[in-house]
Symmetry: C2
Subunit: 348 residues, 2 copies
Amino acid sequence: SRSLNLAVIPGDGIGQEVVAQGLKVLSAVLPQDVKLETKEYDLGASRWHRTGETLPDAELEALKGHDAILLGAIGDPTVPSGVLERGLLLKLRFAFDHYVNLRPSKLFPNTATPLAGRPDIDFVVVREGTEGPYTGNGGSLRTGTPAEVATEVSLNTAYGVERVVRDAYERANSRPRKKLTLVHKNNVLVYAGHMWKNIFDRVGQEYPDVAIDYLHVDAATIFFVTQPDRFDVIVTDNLFGDILTDLAAAVTGGIGLAASANINPDRTFPSMFEPVHGSAPDIAGQGKADPTATILSVALLLRHLGFDAEAVRVEEAVAADLAGRDGTAATARTTDQIGDALAVRVAS
Amino acid sequence: SRSLNLAVIPGDGIGQEVVAQGLKVLSAVLPQDVKLETKEYDLGASRWHRTGETLPDAELEALKGHDAILLGAIGDPTVPSGVLERGLLLKLRFAFDHYVNLRPSKLFPNTATPLAGRPDIDFVVVREGTEGPYTGNGGSLRTGTPAEVATEVSLNTAYGVERVVRDAYERANSRPRKKLTLVHKNNVLVYAGHMWKNIFDRVGQEYPDVAIDYLHVDAATIFFVTQPDRFDVIVTDNLFGDILTDLAAAVTGGIGLAASANINPDRTFPSMFEPVHGSAPDIAGQGKADPTATILSVALLLRHLGFDAEAVRVEEAVAADLAGRDGTAATARTTDQIGDALAVRVAS
Ligand SMILES: CC(C)[C@H](C(=O)O)[C@@H](O)C(=O)O
Ligand SMILES: CC(C)[C@H](C(=O)O)[C@@H](O)C(=O)O
């Protein structure tokens, strides 16, 4: 019999609640012969307050033994900004070489969007996950004085860019529209930008069927709200991807629906699946959080582990559930009720 | 009698056309006793093709003698990306210490917006203009090889941050809503982000009437499309400001309407006024460009030089003109006709 050995990091705020629904749906959808084992890791704000630890080596080691990681949300206003993000969330993405940060955006029927005209949105952002301005390079001199100087260094390597660009071409090539857009800012960030563009153009020669396009990040934000249907697959840098995927979530029903996968395509380490949203401490523990983003992240997890049919069932269940919402229904149901409804749908 | 000694850099693409309309309106609105002198500088793509020069020292020196600079647009696909942007546009912003890059966003009545529900948008972004990832620091090692490494260094100083933050507080304090939002990404870019936040909080103690708020840049993009009416004044870093102001333009009628001012508040060098849009080579020379963004930039120029009543007249003329457009009118009229209509309005 098969098994799925899952690490679960509920994290902070609404993390616990949404992860519980993700696990509920996962259990309901998995084939009978798959033994689901989960191990919960107590990481996040309360652990840090208790012990001062963000991600001890022993736990990082233990996490390596799992098939995948399901993460809720990290971050809390009682912890200095950056401590948990860099000491835990980004540490995992970097340590496990999650170089493909995959964030699909789809405007489901009947879902609220701030955009007039309800454009047909269905694209996926391949965000680089292990380089760029996220490496923690930089520093501060004469901190806190009027003479302070602070730097942030964006590190980019041909090795790192080529592998994520190649992944994006593969994805574009396997989609009906076969279109790939590179987003950067190569008229200002000329060193990193030109390297990205050169590698993008060179690798593209191996994918003659993929139509390619380049946009500066500022211009890309315009198209996200005026012509989002022009996008199919987007590949971009870690920071630009962070910004663009929140915007993408906003125009496709909000971050309550936005899923993400931190993938290590080489499978040398477990991949990690998490909603794009944060820990939302203002609504934590009240059953108000929409677990759909986590449940859609579970679909990405299933697909990554080869459970393609099950992934489709989760996605279809979500589409059906969203189609049945009337705008008020989403807030009328509790986190738990939405999870229950989706668990019922995937099981039937 | 008074005089206004203006440097004009039409630049590339539609730059020439829109600047001509800006000058037309400027002439029409200036009081009779003000002698308008203009000197045109031939800078941009064609100059670079002819001579290889972007901004020679002699012209940089000559530009210093003017009261202000009106710029059309810089950039052309025939020139490698970055050459004109960094060698001309950014060189001017840095050499003339344009540390306040001011970009107002207002949704005029009757103007098309991609947002459903037509929220009440009226905010101004104070974008830092002389630091951050725009300093040109960084480099590339083993360029073009599989072992390439490329860096981009964001440079930030307490000196540079405090002066722009202070300017933003002054602006917020003088507006009815008195609200200031700092946008950064201090949970990841901790060195620069914490410096920005600390200075923002400290300077804020001198402005007890200003209500303050902080948003990560990714979250800010969400609010730009879901709740843009929550913003009054925004202060942010050079790159985040670049991204957010294109998005702001998109939700308030498009970059055909977005004005900007590169201000040196200390008046040690001339300030520079330019539309946010680019050179749009695809429509250049066809009379299709909307000169409104340039004309609104002329209003910012007038205000900077103390012609407050005239600035208001230009803005009111634009508001009236936009109110009269029916969605097709904007494309039905040529660049020249829109300029003429606005020149007539400001003169009457
Ligand atoms: C919490 C933060 C560090 C993180 C990021 O910036 O990547 C988040 O915004 C995301 O998009 O997953
Ligand atoms: C052309 C480019 C260098 C410029 C910038 O990035 O500042 C433009 O996008 C702008 O916003 O004025």
